[in-house]
Symmetry: C2
Subunit: 377 residues, 2 copies
Amino acid sequence: MPSSRYVSPKSMYFREPLVLESGASIAGYTLVYETYGTLNADRSNAVLVCHALNASHHVSGVYEDTGEVGWWDNMVGPGKALDTDRFFVIGVNNLGHCYGSTGPMHINPATGKHYGADFPVMTVQDWVDAQARLADGLGIQQFAAVMGGSLGGMQAMTWTLRYPDRVANAVIIASTSHLSAQNIAFNEVARTAILSDPDFHGGDFYSYGVVPKNGLRVARMVGHITYLSNDDMSEKFGRELRSGEYKFGYGVEFEIESYLQYQGNKFSSFFDANTYLLITRALDYFDPAAKYGGDLSKALEKTRAKYLIVSFTTDWRFSPECSRIIVDALIHNGRQVTYAEIDAPHGHDAFLLNDARYHETVRAYYDRIWQEITEVD
Amino acid sequence: MPSSRYVSPKSMYFREPLVLESGASIAGYTLVYETYGTLNADRSNAVLVCHALNASHHVSGVYEDTGEVGWWDNMVGPGKALDTDRFFVIGVNNLGHCYGSTGPMHINPATGKHYGADFPVMTVQDWVDAQARLADGLGIQQFAAVMGGSLGGMQAMTWTLRYPDRVANAVIIASTSHLSAQNIAFNEVARTAILSDPDFHGGDFYSYGVVPKNGLRVARMVGHITYLSNDDMSEKFGRELRSGEYKFGYGVEFEIESYLQYQGNKFSSFFDANTYLLITRALDYFDPAAKYGGDLSKALEKTRAKYLIVSFTTDWRFSPECSRIIVDALIHNGRQVTYAEIDAPHGHDAFLLNDARYHETVRAYYDRIWQEITEVD
């Protein structure tokens, strides 16, 4: 591992309160972020990478102390599809999240206690507004691209709506313009598991020295099922038994049970329950077309960016149909759209995995962006 | 409502212990059942209807006191697809269930306490063995048909394997020969919610005067999502809000949330948590091909029945592909199989709903059975 791959998080504090979509506001807040590569002289090569539910500002590279590799390191780095030898890439932990940026587990300066249940509900737009201040702070007027998968893709789309002049390209992967009833239903199961865990204490569990692990475990398990394709799960786990025979009990017997319990336990040991509620609600609420009577074309009229939209055939959380709806609405507005539907077996999680066609598609798109930047130069 | 539609449950006690597939045995037990129509002189017109997760012996007709209508009353009754003017139909509550037959909430004669966690894990085969004794008690040597949807279909299939000479026809609807990894995963989420509810008390909640309602609610909510199709859920609920606007909180806002909470709350107010565990485990374990190296054709060699198999296009819990696997294995054995894949929008739940093509298919099949019975006469 070359030492150039070592990265460290930074943070920026914003004193000015942020007025949220709900009408509430949050007092001064901190965003934790990382950067990779070098901002060029005319500040035209910046790319913002937005994260999904369980990810962070640590997009690329390696932490020297822990060895932790960035969550999208296969995509972002020197010589990779999003090449940090060319682009100045920023990863930022969203407001309200639990990996360093101000969130429900921090002290509310107004009360001197943990925010807990008092932490305001946030929307994708609020995250983007908070990110815009980070861009200001870094002296970036316009991003060459804003990019994200799943919930990260919603942020990229929202950037092109909220700050049309500040985004040249949006890369929206495995995402959707709105959650379906089924998507919301799965989120509601997760929230119910957390809210009804006695250790949740109405969101103020920090004061009790406990964590609603049981609720978080169930939330993660049900979420995880929606990230994998049925076929992929059958292929990986099938009906394999851990011990080769039925035990006639209710403990873990099938490999798929073991896998889900492992994922749920791990997640519940580090993730914040209030953040989980907040993120699932932001997902539910995301629906740019709602203010336009459900007309996504109308909603996207004000956009100015070019788009790369990518979907995966076996993604049943945000299916290719969800991406096609976005593509159609953009084309209807005369926007320049590249759309790739990748035949991949890994369901929604495919956006995080290595897949040559997928990565080459993204690489080709960034090559084009790079040409445009360097031509301007 | 003609008074002839009024029905009442009966019960039969079996003194002889039942040895289970696990090797454990259960002491004397009671099965609650109902019958509709009249057994003919040569006892050739009996049909057993097996129930799925949340159903019972109350298949058809009406209870005079409560007005409760049988769960498959649209299918079974005078003049209906399964015509009780012709057939003598039996509904039976499965052993271990919570609607009257001996289950975990009853007193274990060996200890004088509730069975609770001591109630043995049961399999589909165990249920069928218990049902066979009921058939003996009713003087029925061979059923004209054994019929069921979902888990009920697994029982019908098992009858033809376990008692090949006692079933002339099996009607297997919206079912499968084995659960997929994804199916098991959803069951594991439900079980984890119940097992980790502090009110579960390791299955002995009866002694504590509490019910693990939170766990049961989550279990039912996640189950319910798998019963409905994505499209049907979108059509029925979409993104409709109860109050027309976002409340920026974690309470119920979307209609789909309200619906799921209602279903979860209702279910948790009457269903037994140990029964839920027992049934989901029986579902997981069902896999007649397992003893034959995964070869379902081999497993079905010993069958003698004729089959009607029905699936529904939008059923993603037990998809048409699951039914086709059964059909192929039966054809491979030279069995007489009628297969109908019904184009219906309502997902797995379609097997309980009115659908003209579906009901006419079943009716035509029973017409044929009736002809065969009366020709013999």
